[in-house]
Amino acid sequence: MILLIVLAAIALIAIMVYNGLIRKKNEVDNAFGGIDVQLKKRYDLIPNLVATVQQYASHEKELLEKITQLRAKAIGGNLSNDEKVDLDNQISGALRSIMVSVENYPDLKASENFLNLQRSLNEVESQISAARRAYNAAVTDFNNGIETFPGNLMAGMMGLTRKQVFEIPEAERQNVNVKDLFKS
């Protein structure tokens, strides 16, 4: 009788741990979905931005072409999560260089259309960074779940492995060097 109770208790705990880990795993997927939504929003803004900048800044053709290409690749689909992250970093970099070169075109900088775009981009950027932080929190929770007892006993059997948290791209972490902006 006692043996039966103990076995039942162990089974119950195992089920709870299993469910807990699955829930954590789904939360991570869900959080990545959150980032995806925001990235998509940013892709939608790019054609508009390119069109606006083109009107005023014909010299920046190369930069605009590059960002159009990156966008095409990003919405092309069939990308792994890591590839998405990598592309996203490249797009962030390209957008930053556009914002810097805009400084040379006072008319563009003052145009209503551009100001609106800049505001929308700012908004999307802060949404993306919030989504990234939500993802990191979900991943940390998941990693804690599979590496601490008793989750670690189950995680091996379930084939769950540690996930990587988002890291801020090297370029974003550096302070802006004003001197570099005026080179070239």
Binding site: A31, G34, R119, N122, E123, S126, Q127, S129, A130, A131, R133, A134, N136, A137, A138, D141
Partner: protein, 319 residues
């Protein structure tokens, strides 16, 4: 000499003299009223011992006298308080920012209190005063003293009914435009459970609270506050690393329990302060410099929150 010291000497001190006259008059009335009560009790005791009926008349006379005194005291207190608010508190508000309006007898509306969703206990009594309204650059705000309570009725072993008023919130209540339309609700509350019960308390917070728990990266912030939100991403969108630091600074500066909520397009903030604010004293000096400075710093909270949360940097729009 700081701003508020100069204002104290130039604008407030000259008015204190007339206030002091009122205060002394009030004090005298109190003294006489208390004497009347003592006299009544003495007479009743004498009456009970001697059984002389003739003394009943003076007792009734004395009771009437005391009642009249107290009616007078209540009227004088109101005048004294109004005088104090108009000449001292209004001056302090003006010193913080001359464009703000100050209404001594008005308070934050009950609908705003409910919208904030900071305190979800149903109240039976809603009191408040000292409403300050204004606009700092582009951000409009409102702030007042509030006190909400509910009535607790208990029965003891003998079945006797006992009533007790329990405070839900007492202190300064503030709300301002955040210039962003929120889809969900985000709550920042003092972390009581985790402080008392540690890790176990955090587990507890998962099941309680108005919305799912949000764990943030700032360790110091997590130690002081617990965050609940209906939308995990939006919570982080609002509580950026900078905002978390700002909320911590607000808490350190006022050194009291601080609640925040972000609902609709507004930020709500409640600072718990367990005493009646911006009131004159009847016994002792009307007001002294340190009390004035204290009031000044409390009114300043409007500015502090708006600046710390950077509500005037309008890089976001509501669309």
């Amino acid at each position: 000499m700081s701003d508020i010291q100069r204002i104290y000497h130039e604008n407030i001190e000259p008015k204190l003299e007339s206030l002091n006259v009122r205060r002394k008059a009030l004090q005298n009335h109190y003294f006489i009223a208390i004497l009347g009560i003592v006299g009544t009790i003495l007479l009743i005791v004498i009456l009970a011992n001697s059984g002389v009926g003739i003394l009943l008349l003076p007792v009734i006379g004395l009771v009437v006298f005391v009642v009249i005194r107290f009616i007078k005291i209540s009227r004088l207190s109101k005048e004294y308080r109004a005088d104090f608010k108009a000449n001292v508190v209004a001056e302090i508000v003006k010193a913080v920012n001359p464009s703000w309006t100050y209404e001594p007898d008005n308070m934050i509306g009950q609908e705003v209190y409910w919208q904030s969703d900071l305190f979800r206990t149903k109240y039976d009594r809603y009191k408040g005063d000292d409403l300050v309204k204004g606009v700092i650059e582009k951000t409009d705000f409102e702030c007042s003293e509030l006190h909400t309570e509910y009535k607790e009725v208990t029965y003891d072993s003998k079945g006797r009914r006992r009533e007790r008023w329990v405070t839900i919130f007492r202190g300064l209540f503030f709300h301002a435009d955040f210039n962003k339309e929120f889809m969900g609700r985000t709550y920042v509350s003092p972390d009581v459970a985790e402080k008392m019960f540690g890790k176990f308390g955090q587990k507890f917070q998962k099941f309680t609270g108005p919305a799912p728990l949000v764990k943030l990266e700032n360790v110091e912030f997590e130690k002081e506050f617990v965050v609940h939100a209906t939308d995990q991403i939006e919570a982080r969108y609002i509580l950026t690393p900078t905002i978390m630091e700002a909320i911590l600074r607000i808490k350190q500066q006022y050194n009291t329990q601080v609640h925040f909520s972000f609902v609709g397009s507004r930020v709500y903030c409640a600072l718990s302060i367990n005493r009646n604010l911006f009131e004159p004293k009847i016994f002792g000096q009307v007001v002294n410099l340190s009390e004035i400075e204290n009031m000044y710093s409390l009114f300043k909270v409007n500015e502090v929150i708006i600046h710390e949360l950077n509500l005037n940097t309008r890089i976001w729009t509501k669309e």
